[in-house]
């Protein structure tokens, strides 16, 4: 494809990008399209749309997402930071806008109407946030005089505040967890870990005490006998009906009963139609991407790259774990998409952006490659 001697940007990308991870990500993306064929027609039907309405849109978003993924993976580290700051800033502005101009779905204002496409700005804020936090923590290490931690705390406060106003507790939790993961990887002391952990538990307890729907979800999980556990029961039934090999494509029945069969419960739909073996393959792909990304981070010398990859991969991994755990009744029901598999334009594009950055940051570099300072001056790489 490319000659080893070719030093052009595409050739360099080809020889340095983590091809197994790229393959796994693309496999997940196309798997999502196939599962969309199973999960979304009943939903479209319920909404009175053409049965393949969501499938077609999914395909269109997938093409766009693929472009975003590849384009982002071409960026170098400085460009990644710059783009992240831009995306983050625009995202925050749009999040503020949703509070005033957003339309309400099921009691939450999360979307901005852009004609044919409803944009969920918080989706794009998440990966940009992870990168900025990682940059702040890595800078704090190198330049202790910079108020990086204060800014980091401020940013978390800003994003969480905007998310709570929507309200969107799932994304709030995700943002806090990603922040915690980056902070943890940056070498936070155990005292802080315990303290923040306590704060997190306190937050969940507070949410349980004060937010009725959070309470009802947790109650339902802890005491399924006494409550209506229709969605999770139906999901489990889907796994049982599917067995090893599934009922066959299009043979699923549970998807007609599950209200979010193309987004939150696509994993269960996949199990019923394609079987648990396919589910295990999906789990394997996710764990491969996450663990390979984190192992790359472990071996990464650059603080920023290590922390950013950790944050982005954590975002991806946490989301996949929560979604699958909810589908399998291992966790209280929480609306969270399964990365790349679930239907959702904003989610797909944001994940492509995030994982594109992971691919860019994990590209192999010569050990001694010069590192640019924020000011653009060429400085020698940090001694080891």
């Amino acid at each position: 494809m490319f000659a080893r001697t070719d030093r052009g940007p595409l050739a360099t990308w080809w020889w340095t990008v983590d091809k197994p991870m790229l393959a796994a990500i693309i496999a997940l993306m196309f798997g999502g399209l196939v599962l969309s064929l199973a999960g979304s027609p009943p939903v479209a039907d319920k909404l009175g749309l053409d049965p393949f309405h969501f499938v077609l849109r999914h395909a269109v978003f997938l093409a766009a997402a693929l472009c975003v993924l590849l384009a982002t993976s071409l960026l170098d580290r400085r460009a990644i930071r710059r783009v992240a700051i831009g995306v983050f800033a625009v995202g925050i502005v749009l999040m503020v806008a949703t509070l005033f101009a957003g339309f309400e779905i099921k009691g939450a204002r999360r979307w901005l109407n852009l004609g044919a496409f409803a944009l969920q700005p918080s989706e794009f804020v998440k990966p940009a946030f992870a990168v900025i936090i990682a940059w702040l923590f890595s800078e704090a290490e190198r330049r202790p005089d910079m108020p990086a931690h204060i800014i980091a705390v401020g940013l978390v406060g800003l994003v969480v505040g905007l998310l709570v106003l929507q309200p969107d507790f799932g994304q709030t939790m995700l943002i806090v967890l990603v922040w915690g993961a980056v902070f943890f990887a940056a070498g936070m002391s155990w005292r802080w870990i315990v303290g923040l952990g306590g704060l997190g538990v306190g937050g969940i307890v507070a949410a349980y005490a004060m937010v009725p729907h959070v309470r009802s979800r947790i109650d339902r999980f802890l005491n399924p006998e006494a409550h209506d556990t229709y969605q999770t029961d139906t999901a489990i039934e889907a796994f049982l009906r599917g067995g090893w090999l599934g009922q066959g494509p299009g043979e699923g029945t549970v998807k007609r009963a599950l209200p979010d069969s193309h987004t939150d419960f696509v994993f269960a739909v996949a199990a019923e139609e394609f079987g648990i073996i396919v589910c295990l393959i999906i789990v394997a792909l996710f764990s491969f991407v996450v663990l390979r990304g984190l192992m790359r981070a472990v071996n990464e010398d650059d603080d920023f790259a290590r922390l950013a990859v950790t944050g982005l991969v954590a975002l991806f991994g946490i989301q996949s774990l929560i979604n699958m755990a909810v589908n399998l009744s291992l966790m209280p029901a929480k609306g969270m998409t399964l990365p790349f598999i679930s239907y959702g334009g904003s989610s797909l594009l944001s994940l492509a952006y995030g994982m594109g950055m992971v691919l860019a940051l994990t590209r192999r570099r010569p050990r001694g490659e010069a590192r640019r300072s924020p000011a653009g001056r060429v400085v020698p790489a940090q001694p080891r």
Partner: protein, 567 residues
């Protein structure tokens, strides 16, 4: 880490990171790098654990036996068992299973209760919205919403496509002939188990055992054919109903037997009930009077007394009985209704229905022989047919001369009409007492079960007497032109508060046709018939039960293939 010195932002920054404040930057960074790497490794381990948990859960679900859905187990218990069809002798359907859909819900599967209630109440208007809400919101896994929907309702609800709402086909017993054959066919309970009539008998024949073994699910069970002929049944019922109306009788009953096989062609007991509404069977008046009621049949019983006298060989048609004066025994006087006040020959005793004459026949026979003859006729035993409803005869506790005399004309001895009919058939068919049956039987099979109770010559004489009685005796109004009807009338006074009442009567007629070669025997009764203008104030059998029987025979004889002889 010292929080006490708080010089500003750099210190705050230091607060987050444990670092060797005294060390040189190079060492610090290397140290930090190592720590950070191990932290990322730890994060990776946590993720690995998480994915392992997910995979483990998936594996347990893959190997888990899929439990049958709750409703299947519940439904299997709820579905009624299949039963065979019941038909009359010509194949007319009397009882059949129809599969009716019943509506159930699995409340935990319904996610929009309001929508479900709205649609269901629209489709089935007699569903109560409040009750429905309570059921659909309940914690139960399975609730019946409506048993027995119409096919249209089923289709409508099916097309709503509501999750958690389903149908189970249940067997429901249906009796197309309704009241017409209620007492013979019987009925079933809600679980389709026979509780009366032939339905119960079918269960005792082994169907219940099949049900218990779960083998009677299919509808391919061989139909059960009865001896009934619904055409005959209808004619008999129709005429008895008309008679009850005409004579304001409180009840009526009738049975038609084939004298050669004992097959019951028709059995009517009015008032009857609708087996499609089993509750109506509980009314006290709805009992089966033919098998489950016992009655003093009055003069009809004289046929047996006369047969006894003739069969003994000590009497013949020339034997005479002094009926000039009533018999007085203690405070009891035996008198004749159609008093002739002269010496009567045996046929005259029969045709004038002389109480005095038959009492003297009984006295001539003696208590022991009279008793023995009643035993021979089976009048001491509970009648045995397929129908579970039967009654023990009421026999005298002490058989005195007086008892013998009253029994000779049908008082002081109560039998079920089916027994009297079987006895009557024996007098007509050459002397064979054949147990009546509701299941088809050939003449050979009947003969194997039969018992010779009177000599064939006695039977011949009885046929002659029966015919004579219609031609010139008390049963003249039974003349059905061309069918050579013969018979014996009976008008019994009912016992009211322990005394015979002369105002409450039970009239009966035991008829056989054609008398030259009897094929069928009919016993018909009317309970408390009243006098009308047409009867000139009479309430006796000859004015009500007899003409009714005549009309019945005119209608049924052609159906039964009896050729009229018109001279």
């Amino acid at each position: 880490m010292a929080i006490s010195n708080w010089p500003g932002i750099p210190a705050l920054s230091r607060l987050f990171m444990r670092k060797d404040t005294g060390g040189r930057p190079v060492r610090r960074v290397a140290d930090h790098g190592r720590r950070s790497r191990s932290r990322v490794l730890l994060t990776a381990a946590v993720f690995a654990l998480g994915y392992t948990a997910i995979a483990g859960r998936l594996l347990t679900l893959a190997v888990a036996e899929q439990q049958p859905a709750v409703f299947l187990a519940t439904a299997a218990d709820a579905v009624s068992q299949a039963r065979p069809d019941i038909r009359d002798r010509n194949g007319v359907l009397l009882a059949t299973d129809i599969r009716t859909p019943s509506l159930y819900a699995e409340p935990h599967r319904i996610y929009d209760v309001d929508e479900a209630i709205e649609l269901l109440t629209a489709a089935v208007p007699d569903l109560d919205a409040g009750g429905l809400r309570a059921k659909l919101k309940s914690d139960k896994r399975f609730v019946w919403l409506k048993r027995e929907l119409s096919p249209e309702q089923r289709d409508t609800i099916h097309n709503f496509g509501l999750p958690g709402i389903g149908f189970i086909e249940e067997n429901r017993r249906f009796y197309p002939s309704g009241r017409l054959t209620s007492h013979v066919v019987g009925h079933v309970n809600i679980d389709n188990a026979g509780i009366a009539g032939m339905e119960k008998h079918i269960d005792t024949m082994g169907l219940a055992a099949l049900h218990d073994a779960g083998l009677a699910r299919d509808e391919s069970q061989a139909p059960v054919t009865l001896t009934l002929d619904v055409r005959v049944q209808h004619a008999l019922r129709d005429e008895i109903m008309t008679a009850m109306e005409t004579f304001s009788a409180k009840a009526g009953a009738g049975v038609v037997l084939n004298v050669h096989t004992g097959e019951v062609l028709a059995l009517v007991s009015l008032p009857d009930y609708d087996p499609n509404e089993p509750a109506t069977a509980l009314e006290k008046e709805a009992i089966n009077r033919i098998t489950a009621g016992v009655y003093e049949l009055g003069s009809t019983f004289k046929a047996f007394t006369v047969a006894m006298a003739l069969d003994s060989g000590e009497a013949d048609f020339s034997t005479t009985y002094d009926a000039r004066s009533p018999i007085r025994v203690a405070s009891f006087t035996i008198n004749d209704f159609h008093a002739q006040r002269r010496i009567l020959t045996l046929p005259e005793v029969f045709t004038h229905s002389s109480n005095i004459g038959t009492a003297k026949m009984a006295l001539a026979a003696g208590i022991e022989r009279h008793k023995e003859f009643m035993h021979r006729m089976g009048f001491f035993e509970r009648p045995h047919t397929e129908l579970p409803e039967s009654a023990e005869p009421l026999t005298p506790a002490r058989w005195s001369d007086l008892a013998s005399m009253t029994i000779s004309f049908g008082h002081g001895f109560s039998v079920a009409p089916i027994q009297a009919a079987a006895g009557g058939a024996a007098l007509m068919n050459g002397g064979l007492l054949i147990p009546p049956t509701f299941l088809p039987r050939t003449q050979e099979q009947a003969r194997a079960l039969a018992r010779q109770v009177v000599q064939p010559s006695t039977s011949d004489m009885m046929r002659e007497l029966f015919r004579m009685n219609v031609e010139e005796g008390t049963a003249r109004k039974a003349a059905a032109k061309g069918f050579r009807v013969g018979g014996k009338t009976g008008t019994a006074e009912k016992v009211v508060n322990g005394r015979y009442s002369n105002s409450k009567l039970l009239t009966s007629f035991l008829a056989a046709f054609p008398t030259d070669k009897p094929e069928y025997l009919m016993l018909l009764m009317l309970d408390e018939p009243q006098a009308t203008e047409q009867t000139h104030g009479y309430r006796t059998s000859g004015w009500n039960a007899v003409p009714t029987s005549g009309k019945v025979i005119t209608r049924i004889a052609p159906l039964l293939g009896v050729k009229p002889v018109l001279d």
